[in-house]
Amino acid sequence: MITFKLNGQQRTFDGDPDTPLLWVLRDFEKLTGTKYGCGIAQCGACTVHLDGMTRRSCITPIATVDGSEVVTIEGIEGKEAEAVQKAWVAIDVPQCGYCQSGQIMSAVSLLQMTPKPSDDDIDGAMAGNICRCATYQRIRQAIHDAADTMEG
């Protein structure tokens, strides 16, 4: 039996311990904001926060999550999350929107570590998140905007 905290609530999982966290979230917990995009940690659509750090849930076996704390797009909160989501909406970042949960999880984590990121910081933190619609210019802008509002 694997026990972990999900968006603040205690959860258990007693299925195949190899099951990636992604599919536990989506198929068992029915939290579908976290997306499948590649299954090999190449696209970042599955990004969640695991014990406060970004993690690609598609390659994270649930067995390794035992005792950890998982936060998904459905559960993020705090000033960084609020600033990021507001900034995303203000300039209409999403197109198809499928990758955006992962983008936002990475962006929130970036701002938690680096409240005033440079373009290079953004490249470093966000290059693991693919957007096939190529909304990158707006992602970059929204992160800068969010940083500005947190400061102000």
């Binding site: 190899d18 068992f28 459905e74 929107g97 966000m126 957007c131 990158y136």
Partner: protein
């Protein structure tokens, strides 16, 4: 255990989640409680004014989008058009997908329901203006009756219906149900475009908020209680079929329920996605390659080039090309260009959910780009009357052409997977990224042979282009999609010949964002650039001189040159390149600034982009589509090819070897939308064609090596 004997063992998911967005109707088997998925057509409690507009008692106006929303913006664009003529307030507007109906919801450019060719706004513009105006007239008629005042004295503004003389005022909701009973005017009065209030504004997109908090329901997110999850093992050669398979190990995987052969491969059914994937990986399958494509991409290219010697199909033959090339003092240059197979790789791979109702009818939830075709295809596979199948188009994670397939081959597979069960459990079928990259329906391979003639005065007098590749429309005769952009060359060259050679492969072809322009735009715009260079002309001035009969090309090109301050000094180590392409009725010109990266490949710093797409419904959406088209096209020309290796085996499989542009590779993009009173045209595709040739032109100036083969990075590393 098989799928026919399965009993529900899992708790109803609703106990743990509160994410129910959509509802299915009685008498369907699965109650609203157990279903997450958005039903096409919207809430049935809303009052329908016509096929496109529903109004709620709460004053909300819901627009039924006959076009799929996969990021290109029809929900917002179509709702804007309706809201304009309805005099609604933007805050009350909503949008949902319409039901599947090839008549009521036909794309007026196609004759059946479908999204593609950047036609959503163009074909809907008049239709939805009328739908909005009709609804407005019905609301006014209902108010006039209720208030006992002449309809002509009623005004509507920002969602408020008013009668000044009696100081009466109301929202739409109070009259919605009564208005729905009114006879719609045959010819509603439309606004003079100069009076537009909402059209032309950068209104916030309707689907943004749900795409920033994880609440948007994509097909992959549709969940029904007691649902099965299925994946299919596919061959790694095109045209291969299952010879035999051993599912002993697969059936031992925890959570695997059943394994069945279907025409497309071997399907694994399981209690969750991971079990289905693990089960699939444990299958041992022997494939029959008798009918498979066994040539490699290199062999195909060589075979294609042999066709240049043959006559081919004449797409254009103006003047006398042979004579032009043999004229006195005429110099010619030649180039052979090779374009690879390209996968579309939308973020959300192909997927569908099937739910059978108690009356035997079936709801399908999917990203349907041709919903009517998906419906009839599924009905056929399931052995049902099409009226017993409802296609509920979901918000979709991209497509770029991938989800628009004649004959709905994906739906054939998904429906076959469902049909192989007894249908008593809902079923989700998904493709993995590997299925997607290796699944065919690519932008076909093409090879172009270009010949250009310049006379002693430096005038381009002859253009001779041969194009070899698959016909996307599966035609034996000329396929316009193979030659569009070349056969109607905008440049004024007196002797022009464009020849097409169709090839036949088992690798299935498909349109890929901007279709023929993906390769003709590259070929034309790089070659004209080389010809202009040969005669010592400036790339912008030289093009303008050749475009004397094309005023919208000229205006777009001049605008982008002004934005980039063309002719001003370029920073050390950089070069600029330009391209202008008209596609799908829209004109797009781009100028790029490029340097050589540390890895020796093109680094694109900046893109200036000017677009003329007629009346701009929402300039912000247009700019977003240009930015996205540039990023999508740039990733492909720099990095992407699906290649067949020795024996025809597909090489690439996922994003590690089928690269996508990443944020650190995205140039800064500046877009100008040219003001226009012309009818609106599309923007989903036209941003793509110019970026490749603009980069290649800058690269040639930077390195003295023309780009003859895509993707650029493969050639550099070869």
């Amino acid at each position: 255990m098989t799928v026919h004997s399965i009993k529900s063992t899992r708790r109803s998911f609703l106990a743990g989640a509160g994410l129910v967005i959509g509802f299915t109707l009685a008498p369907r088997m699965f109650s609203a409680r157990a279903m997450q998925g958005v039903q096409a057509g919207g809430d049935t409690a809303l009052s329908p004014m016509n096929a496109f507009v529903k109004i709620g008692a709460d004053d909300t106006v819901t627009v039924l989008s006959k076009h799929i929303e996969f990021g290109q913006g029809p929900f917002t664009g179509l709702a804007t058009i309706v809201a304009e003529e309805l005099d609604a307030d933007w805050s009350q507007m909503r949008a949902v997908h319409s039901p599947a109906d090839d008549k009521v919801y036909a794309n007026l450019a196609f004759g059946l329901q479908g999204t593609g060719g950047s036609t959503s706004i163009a074909n809907s513009y008049e239709q939805l203006r009328k739908a909005g105006a009709t609804a407005r007239a019905m609301l006014v008629a209902a108010a006039a009756e209720e208030w006992k005042v002449p309809a002509s004295e009623i005004t509507v503004e920002k969602g408020r219906i008013k009668h000044a003389a009696t100081s009466k005022e109301s929202g739409f909701g109070a009259f919605a149900s009564k208005a729905a009973t009114k006879t719609p005017p045959a010819e509603p009065r439309l606004k003079d475009p100069k009076d537009f209030i909402l059209i032309g504004q950068e209104l916030p997109k309707l689907d943004t908020v749900s795409k920033t908090n994880g609440k948007a329901v994509f097909t992959l997110d549709v969940t029904a209680d007691n649902m099965l999850y299925a994946t299919v093992a596919h061959p790694d050669h095109f045209g291969a079929t299952v010879k035999s398979f051993d599912d002993l190990q697969a059936r031992k995987v925890q959570g695997v329920v059943d394994v069945r052969q279907i025409p497309q491969g071997v399907a694994v059914y399981a209690e969750n996605t991971f079990a289905a994937l693990k089960g699939r990986a444990a299958l041992e399958i022997e494939w029959d390659l008798t009918k498979a494509e066994t040539r490699s991409s290199d062999q195909l290219t060589a075979d294609y080039e042999k066709l240049f010697a043959e006559k081919g199909l004449a797409a254009t033959n103006n003047g006398d090309v042979e004579k032009a090339f043999s004229g006195n003092g005429v110099q010619s240059i030649e180039a052979v260009l090779a374009f690879p197979f390209l996968a579309h790789a939308p973020m959300e791979p192909l997927d569908a959910v099937f739910v059978k109702a108690v009356d035997g009818s079936v709801d399908i939830y999917t990203g349907a780009q041709f919903p009517g075709m998906d419906k009839s295809t599924a009905a056929k596979v399931l052995g049902l009357d099409p009226e017993k199948v409802r296609v509920n188009t979901q918000i979709t994670g991209g497509s770029f052409g991938r989800k628009a397939q004649f004959g709905s081959p994906y739906m054939q597979e998904a429906a076959a997977v469902f049909a192989a069960t007894d249908g008593n459990r809902p079923l989700k079928h998904m493709w993995t990224r590997e299925d997607d990259i290796r699944g065919g329906y690519y932008r076909p391979m093409y090879v172009h042979k270009m010949r250009g003639a310049v006379d002693a005065d430096g005038k381009i007098v002859g253009w001779d282009q041969s194009i070899v590749g698959q016909s996307i429309m599966a035609k034996a005769d000329l396929d316009e999609t193979s030659v569009e952009g070349a056969s109607n060359l905008p440049y004024d060259i007196p002797n022009l010949r464009v020849i097409s050679h169709n090839t036949t492969l088992v690798v299935p072809p498909l349109w890929w964002r901007s279709v023929g322009h993906t390769h003709t735009g590259f070929a034309v715009e790089t070659f004209v650039d080389e010809l202009l260079e040969k005669v010592g002309k400036d790339p912008v001035e030289g093009r303008l001189a050749l475009l004397s009969k094309e005023p919208r090309h000229i205006a777009t090109l001049k605008k982008v040159a002004e934005m980039a301050n063309w002719g001003s000094p370029v920073p050390e180590g950089r070069q600029r390149g330009v391209a202008v392409v008209k596609s799908f009725g829209s004109y797009v010109a781009q100028i790029v600034e490029v340097s050589v990266s540390n890895e020796g490949s093109p680094r694109v710093h900046k893109v200036w982009c000017a677009v003329d797409c007629g009346i701009a419904i929402n300039p912000n959406v247009i700019k977003a589509q240009m930015e996205g088209g540039i990023g999508y096209g740039l990733g492909a020309v720099l990095f992407d090819a699906v290649t067949l290796g020795p024996g025809g085996k597909i090489i690439q499989s996922n994003f590690h070897d089928y690269r996508s542009l990443r944020i650190n590779e995205m140039p800064a993009v500046e877009v100008a939308v040219i003001p226009s009173g012309e009818p609106p045209t599309g923007v989903g595709e036209p941003g793509v064609p110019p970026i490749g040739p603009a980069v290649a032109n800058a690269w040639r100036r930077l390195t003295n090596s023309p780009v003859r083969r895509l993707p650029i990075v493969n050639v550099l590393s070869a």
